[in-house]
Symmetry: none
Subunit: 195 residues, 4 copies
DNA sequence: CCTTAACCGAGACGGTACGTCGAGTCTTCAA
DNA sequence: TTGAAGACTCGACGTACCGTCTCGGTTAAGG
């Protein structure tokens, strides 16, 4: 993947990278995804437009990195029951989608990704990957406990969870339904449990 | 709402309306939502831009009407069981979201609606309303049959169903999972049934 | 040629035309030809860039029109002698090239015209045409008076006069040599006279 | 002038100098003066941009040196008559201006020089100096022969000759008028001769 | 012989301008 | 008043070049 940086020439200034990411995050929060332009990001970061385009192919990639980076190394929950694990999982999903920058960026971001075949492939492989990994572990434990069958379709469940949270958080209410995570976890858990 | 047309002067040509809707639908299918511009729609419809703006406030409203019009007057399914009704409901939802124009327009459309507070309010009240109505009827019957409790939160269920279908159809696979409707209906039905 | 304006649609606002021409003239004088950008002209004229590009293909055409418009309808001089006519002709040529906007624009303008084959053809046909016309009349009278031969090559004389003035005014001294017109007219007149 | 190189450190590689000059000449011929960029010259020469900027202040200086170097040590013609000498002088001037790189570079080069007060001063002192020197010698001989008066203004004659050739060669015809040198020399000679 | 300083290639840097396009409004003539 | 046409202001797009800077790495002369 990494197409080695080759070390020839002046290396890229990591402070530019940071400044751009910060500027992008702030602008998305302040004016929204659609009104955030590469030019404005560059200006706020005190950087030339080329310096942005040198690192990211366009707005979707830039905002994606700016908004979804803290996502990662959360361990899979282990509460002893499927419902408990799903609740924990959903809570972190809600939290992630509800963060100011994420909530402002998500709909536009997904639209731009969906419109481009190249980017579309990354939704699953990058955007949903960490969640899928945790969900897989949760499912393995649930199978071991005999709560669910071995063949339960992880991707469908993940689409359901993420889609539900996205719709509820991103497209609907001003006010987030606080019971969302609990109710949805309970319903899905019960829905896919054996018997 | 309708700010009546006041009847003085030349009446609006209904053929313009049709031609614009058709042009918009075609363009969304051919070049996608983002690349569909009002100017291009007007040109293809053989119409001035003002004639478009006189009838719709902008691209989101126009495309929404162009893409989601046949939705409406389908009666609520009545198969005798909650799972059956949900399956039927989901099948029509999948069909609706999977139609060429809808699949192409949905992500961008939702992004534009979500970005505008005024439009955002219409997602529930217009976009989801027909589905909600049918779901309510299905739930009433299920309550009457004793399958589910009276207080089951319709909106959350609807977000879950629509979100799942949207994610799966609009953002993910080229190839739609044919089992989606059946599996999801079964899981949700079981998840919200009493006991 | 004229590809008739067809009268359909909103006609071009002549005030925009004027404002752009004025802004271009001012900018050329203030910052020079090279530093005059279409964007800056549009901004100063209070006009969108498209409005400029709709009327002119680029900077050379725009500045040419801005700087050389008052050139035209001066009648050919008729002093009774070739030397006198040439002096008058050269005086107006010097005046024309020495005007603030013209002096600032000429070198860059000729460079841009010379670099483009399409524009290059216009140097003779538009830029030099009015002078050539007057020179032709002057020569006809001189032939009638028997001062010069009938076949005297007008184009070469014109290149010589214009080239000399351009070099002297545009490329050389801050301070224009006041005797230029008189001396050059005398030399050329004597040089091409019979005997 | 030369701001001596102080001898410490690695000396400049003379092959870089040559490579840059060659690359500049080629590019000017191939794509023209305006489209010749320092970056492209450096790339073609296999050299870093700084290596160019270390030796020349910018494109005008570089291209000037690249295009006008063979100009110099031609001796002043001595045919026995002013008209003959001027013809020879003009022939070499035409040849110089008509060379591929010179013809391509001259208009833009003069424009850039004229736009910068510092460079503008060099037009006379460097670009025209060799020609002026030869013209002075020619004039001295003509004065000695009694052909012209002692005070004949060399600079004006030089402007006239150079301007005429520049206009004719650089700005006008594809096809150079072969009689240019002869006709112009004859006219000017006759024009400035005594009686 | 080993520092020191200028050179070198590569390429990132902050800027500025390019010419095109879409948004939404305005202005004309004609129906 | 509607309608087609198209001009209007505005602002973003992604690219190219400017001239400077910062890397790692030569290549000499001077101590």
């Amino acid at each position: 993947m990494s197409s080695f940086p080759s070390s020839r020439g002046r290396p890229r200034d990591p402070r530019s990278h940071e400044a751009i990411i910060s500027a992008a995050t702030e602008l998305v929060i302040e004016v929204g995804y659609a009104a955030t332009s590469i030019g404005a990001v560059a200006a706020r970061a005190g950087v030339g437009k080329d310096t942005v385009y040198r690192r990211w192919r366009g707005k979707p990639e830039l905002v994606f990195e700016a908004v979804f980076t803290t996502t990662d190394h959360v361990p899979a929950p282990d509460t002893g029951t499927l419902a408990g694990d799903l609740t924990a999982l959903l809570r972190s999903l809600v939290e992630e989608f509800h963060a100011p920058a994420a909530a402002a960026a998500l709909p536009g971001l997904l639209a731009d990704f969906a419109a481009d075949p190249v980017l579309k492939a990354r939704i699953r492989s990058q955007f949903l990957a960490p969640s899928k990994e945790r969900l897989l572990i949760v499912f393995e434990r649930a199978v071991a406990r005999g709560e669910i069958a071995a063949g339960t379709p992880v991707d469908l469940v993940l689409d359901t969870l993420a889609g539900a949270v996205f719709f509820h958080v991103g497209l609907v209410g001003e006010h987030l339904d606080r019971q969302l995570a609990g109710w949805l976890a309970a319903a899905i858990a019960k829905g896919i449990e054996i018997r």
